[in-house]
């Protein structure tokens, strides 16, 4: 299998890059496994990796209908953060940031995790109070948060419109310094290679078309490449959760699928060295290592399984970034794209055993799934291996909706488009 080092780079450069080995095998599916993970995205691959690395369960298949990492792991705006208010969220996402901090070493694969900081701009005293409260909650939970005044922000992010005449004048900002960005594809590839090396079969171009049952129990999947049996089937299919659960006979579930768009501009010289979010609307942006501004805003606000959005949202997002950084108004957009988000009813995920015997479910990431990838895989693997949740995902049950124990950061209630 492929090894990457300065020496191997030099050797392959001299030999015309003809001798690189594939990073993982392309096995045909076996008739049965101990565990099948449906969904070869970040969360599915991370789950398979931690099943093998932490629990010694290596007779595992990851089944992906397309190619590995073809979904939201390659469509997000690469932001990693844990700037949450509620204790359950702080515990989970802070654990994730800790895994991120060691991920390149753990995988021996450079995921380019860059703790460049995430700065949330506040535009009025009420918003400033809410952000400071959140910062205090983060520090109370063991994380880091700093309140920056407008003068400090002016030194940190020189391009921002901080004038009093701005449409939404900036009064301050909450900075999480340990937050940042990562190279999103590399996360999928690193976990894939790590899982493959430990014996996990990564099976691409293999779509689940149904479930195999023994009485009430799910005992495997029917796929476009034949039947595959397993004692345990884990679903990590994000925006396709509704479609896959329908195959298992579950027609109604606390998830709606919505489309979220993201954008990248042409490359610029170094312009902004942290992630900045706009509180006058909803926008998050950073500059990639290639120089493009990577940014996104809100959902398109209607149910959708299409991986593309409409123009009113594009116009809205562009007007926001121009309000923040007037100097980018003449910048050209390089690309825009969409991904399908599994929007839950309280904005928090579901990582649990069930809802049917033999099935384990990981979904409801709204549009915050990328930063959660390591913790999601870690806790989902724990749940599958031990048949009980890890302490960090214990609150993320499916039954919390019926019990009224929702984990609703924004207080929007069961209106998924607003989470």
């Amino acid at each position: 299998m492929a090894e990457y080092s300065a020496l191997s780079l030099l050797k392959n450069a001299l030999s015309g890059n003809r001798d690189w080995k594939p990073a993982w095998r392309k096995p045909a599916p076996k008739p049965s496994y101990d565990v099948i993970i449906v969904g070869g995205g970040g969360h599915g691959l991370a789950t398979a990796y931690y099943l093998a690395a932490e629990h010694g369960i290596t007779n595992v298949a990851v089944i992906e209908k397309s190619w590995l990492g073809s979904g939201n792991i390659g469509r997000n705006t690469t932001i990693v953060r844990s700037n949450y208010l509620l204790p359950d969220s702080i515990r989970f996402y802070d654990f994730s940031v800790k895994l991120w901090e060691n991920l390149s070493h753990e995988l021996n694969y450079n995921v380019m995790f860059s703790q460049r900081g995430v700065l949330n701009l506040a535009h009025n005293p009420g918003q400033a109070d809410a952000y400071i409260r959140r910062g205090n909650a983060m520090r109370h939970g063991g994380g880091d948060a700093l309140w920056l005044t407008r003068e400090e922000i002016a030194r940190k992010v020189p391009g921002l419109d901080l004038s009093g005449s701005a449409r939404f004048p900036v009064v301050g900002g909450l900075l999480q310094q340990r937050a940042g960005t990562a190279r999103h594809d590399a996360v999928a590839w690193g976990y894939a290679r790590g899982a493959d090396r430990r014996g996990v079969d990564l099976i691409e171009n293999c779509e689940v078309t149904g479930f195999l049952r023994d009485g009430d129990r799910i005992v495997g999947v029917e796929t476009s490449r034949g039947e595959i049996r397993a004692r345990k089937v884990g679903l990590a299919v994000a925006g396709s959760t509704g479609r896959v659960l329908k195959l298992a006979g579950i027609d109604s579930f606390p998830i709606e699928s919505h489309v979220l768009q993201a954008f990248v501009s042409e490359a610029l010289k170094p312009f902004v060295d942290c992630v900045v979010t706009f509180g006058g609307g909803h926008l998050y942006m950073s500059q990639s290592d290639k120089g493009g501004l990577v940014f996104g805003g809100s959902l398109d606000y209607y149910n959708s399984y299409a991986q593309r959005g409409n123009l009113p949202t594009v116009e809205d997002v562009m007007s926001e970034i121009c309000a923040m950084f007037p100097s980018v108004a003449r910048l050209r957009l390089l690309r825009s794209w969409g991904g399908v988000m599994d929007m839950s009813m309280d904005g928090s995920p579901i990582i649990t055993k069930g809802p049917l015997p033999g099935i384990y479910l990981n979904c409801g990431w709204c549009y915050g799934g990328f930063k959660a990838t390591p913790a999601s895989g870690f806790s989902f693997a724990h749940t599958i291996a031990r048949d009980e949740p890890h302490a960090i995902n214990a609150p993320y049950t499916l039954s919390r909706f019926e019990r009224g124990a929702v984990i609703d950061e924004t207080g929007h209630g069961p209106t998924p488009k607003l989470h």
Partner: protein
């Protein structure tokens, strides 16, 4: 995406506000059946395909509309008023 408002004709998506799934039925307010309330408040069919949903022409005539739309292609099959207009007999 253009939505053909029965009052105003085809208008841009930007004029409309999405109100969500139109298939849910509210239980009797006196009901204490937790399962029924869970079904109404939290559970969604979330289909990949035809979806019955409410929109409001918030930036236009302000009528509440019932729209049948494909969530895979964004094609709109049908737009009617969400409830009958007084005196017209036109129904959703």
């Amino acid at each position: 995406m253009l939505i053909s408002c029965p009052h105003c004709g085809p208008r841009d998506l930007a004029e409309f506000s999405y109100q969500g799934d139109a298939t849910r039925i509210r239980p009797d307010p006196a009901s204490t059946d937790a399962k029924a309330w869970y079904g109404y408040v939290y559970a969604r069919p979330n289909p990949a395909g035809r979806h019955r949903e409410f929109w409001q022409h918030a930036g236009g005539c302000r009528a509440h509309l019932l729209v049948v739309r494909d969530t895979l292609t964004h094609e709109i099959y049908e737009v009617t008023f969400a409830r009958p207009l007084p005196g017209t007999g036109e129904t959703a």
